[in-house]
């Protein structure tokens, strides 16, 4: 019984701490993507495509139909009138800020090396409002960038590959243009893909480099309540008539991965509880078999079947009670311990400590799992004890 109790304590504890870790990393991931690519992105304009159908009657008259075909929606690349779109979406309650961005492919050349990248032409203040760019600056400063019309902000991995630092200059090529830019600052998001390829420059510089005098590639939107993004995106899509994606959809595969990981961790850790449940099941059965005489005697004195079953259910309940309490305590302790462990990591995101994020739900889930398993484990022996026929038991013992 003590073994089963220990098993349940550890099972519940591990359940809570593994869920806390996974949620911690998920949280960090969400923070990171919201800090870089934002909550909502408004991209290409939707152009309803009409399918022209000519139906002929017997008389030879012609009737024309226009059918809108949702699946074959066509898009016109980019946002032609960003100011109008921004003006209309800023009316929405949950929208915090919006930043128009011009995007393009570029080649960079330092004295020593060449590299490919993506340029984001931004209005600095707008973009600071929709991302965590300010906090991501590793070297240099945004003040320098603001005052340098030909300044750029470069990802730290790209800077490493090009072997350049703040203050040095690189040549940037796009289409048939070529300009020299100075590195004002270097950023690190933790997402290595971005740190390797992304370059920010002023909107006007990007316009002339990419030869895009009008419109922008997309608008990045930040919102107050990130969990409301899906609905907001739908509204924006209809209001602005532009193809709009919330972060949940953009990072769908990642979110799904986290979900799967959490589920599989829950199942794996639950097996600890299940094994303890099995142990409890067999222990209880053994006690029942060992105590048949006492059970028969109690029955002969007027104790009912459920009185007898309850004795064994109580044992289960006591194990459950302490298992759940100590397990939650252990879970909290492990979670705290883990959060103090240093863990430098970067790749999809950067962090110095193990990330944990506990919610009451983890505790509830763990306790519910323990309740179900312990109940199943003690119900069968308890029922068995209650169903013993006293006459049979006594006859078997006395003869």
């Amino acid at each position: 019984m003590l073994m089963s109790l220990a098993g349940i304590v550890f099972g519940v504890g591990f359940f809570i701490s593994t869920q806390a870790q996974l949620t911690g990393y998920q949280e960090l991931f969400i923070e990171t993507i919201l800090g870089t690519d934002g909550a909502i992105r408004i991209e290409d304009r939707i152009q309803d495509s009409y399918v022209f159908v000519a139906a002929s009657t017997s008389k030879g008259d012609r009737t024309n139909f226009f059918i809108t075909d949702e699946k074959n929606r066509r898009f016109v690349e980019g946002v032609e009138h960003p100011d109008k779109v921004i003006e209309s979406i800023m009316q929405l309650q949950n929208v915090e800020a919006a930043s128009p961005v011009i995007k393009g492919t570029i080649q960079l050349e330092s004295p020593l090396r060449k590299d490919n990248g993506q340029v984001y032409g931004i209005n600095l203040d707008d973009h600071i409002a929709v991302s965590a760019l300010e906090d991501q600056i590793q070297h240099g400063s945004l003040v320098d960038f603001r005052t340098a019309p030909m300044g750029i902000i470069m990802g730290h991995k790209m800077a490493g590959r090009l072997d350049v630092t703040v203050g040095e200059s690189v040549i940037i090529r796009a289409i048939d243009q070529q300009r020299r830019f100075t590195i004002s600052a270097i950023f690190e998001t933790g997402v290595s893909d971005l740190d390797k390829t992304r370059v920010f420059m002023h909107m006007s510089a990007a316009r002339s480099l990419l030869k895009k005098p009008h419109g922008v590639s997309f608008i990045q939107v930040s919102i107050f309540d990130r969990d409301h993004a899906v609905v907001d995106a739908e509204v924006i899509e209809r209001v602005a008539n532009h193809f709009t994606t919330p972060w949940q959809e953009r990072e769908k595969s990642w979110m799904q991965l986290f979900k799967t990981l959490k589920l599989s961790a829950a199942i794996t850790v639950s097996t600890i509880i299940i094994v303890s449940g099995l142990g409890m099941f067999s222990t209880l059965f053994m006690i029942v078999m060992d105590k048949t005489r006492e059970i028969a005697i109690l029955r002969s004195m007027g104790y009912t079947r459920s009185d007898i079953s309850n004795i064994f259910l109580w044992q289960g309940a006591i194990v459950l009670f302490w298992g759940a309490i100590l397990g939650c305590f252990l879970g909290g302790l492990i979670t705290y311990g883990i959060s103090r462990l240093p863990m430098p990591l970067s790749g999809i995101f950067a962090t110095e400590y193990f990330q944990v994020n506990s919610t009451v739900w983890h505790y509830i889930q763990a306790v519910v799992a323990a309740i179900v398993i312990v109940m199943v484990a003690s119900l069968a022996p308890a029922r068995r004890a209650g169903r013993l026929v006293p006459g049979d038991v006594i006859r078997g013992t006395v003869t």
Binding site: I297, S300, M301, G302, V389, P390, G391, R395, V398
Partner: protein, 234 residues
């Protein structure tokens, strides 16, 4: 309606009519009780005697509602006990029947007094203090007034059996059934246990049925019932 008094005016505490019981499965199936009729009167001590294997214990378990008959009726205080209702059986057992087994069957983890209090706890008619007092008085009735706090393992076989008797009387049952209560005891202890049983019963007007192999003890009873091959013989 069943009559609860006999022609001679004695009250019937327990009655059974044409009880049949088989034991064992398939080829091993044995017709153990072959139509048993019996009346137990208040304040009377009856003994069942008969060769080993004739069905004495089987009958006692049926009368004590610890088992189910295949056919026949059992009436307690004039009311028929439905043969298939475990709940009703359990309630009747707690209220009306006291059982003493061949082995004492005390709960080893509980003291003598606590063992005696078990049936009272279930019935729940007395407060804690009353139960304790009653347990003490029952134990002193069987001569164990000074050993109420001992565990069964700290008592002799005869003492254990006397605790079991005290326990069987705890709820003042109308019927007391004892299956070879003195089977494991020496002559002196046998007599003591027997006297405890019969004395209390006659004082409080209970019906007592004792199965015994001891002809001397049987001779001290008000009535002797002889059993052979699952039936009473005259």
């Amino acid at each position: 309606m069943s009559e609860t008094t006999d022609l001679e005016g004695k009250s019937i505490a327990l009655e059974c009519r044409d009880l049949h019981k088989h034991l064992g499965e398939r080829e091993m199936r044995v017709h153990v009780l072959r139509g048993v009729n019996l009346k137990l009167y208040q304040g009377e001590v009856s003994a069942i005697v008969g060769p080993s294997g004739c069905g004495k214990s089987t009958l006692l378990y049926l009368l004590g509602l610890l088992d189910r008959q295949d056919s026949g009726q059992i009436l307690i205080n004039g009311e028929e006990v439905p043969p298939d209702k475990d709940g009703a059986h359990t309630r009747t057992r707690g209220e009306h029947i006291g059982f003493v087994f061949q082995f004492h069957f005390l709960i080893p983890e509980f003291s003598a007094a606590e063992n005696v209090m078990l049936p009272m706890r279930k019935l729940g008619r007395l407060a804690d203090q009353e139960m304790e007092d009653r347990a003490r008085s029952l134990l002193s009735d069987v001569g164990l007034g000074d050993k109420t706090h001992r565990l069964p393992s700290q008592l002799s076989g005869g003492e254990q059996q006397r605790v079991a008797i005290a326990r069987s009387l705890a709820n003042l049952p109308s019927v007391l059934l004892a299956d070879e209560p003195t089977g494991n005891l020496d002559v002196k202890n046998s007599l003591m246990v027997f006297q405890s049983l019969t004395q209390l019963a006659t004082e409080k007007g209970q019906a007592v049925l004792i199965v015994t192999h001891n002809p001397e003890l049987a001779g001290r009873c008000d009535r002797i019932l002889r059993m052979q091959d699952g039936q009473f013989i005259d």
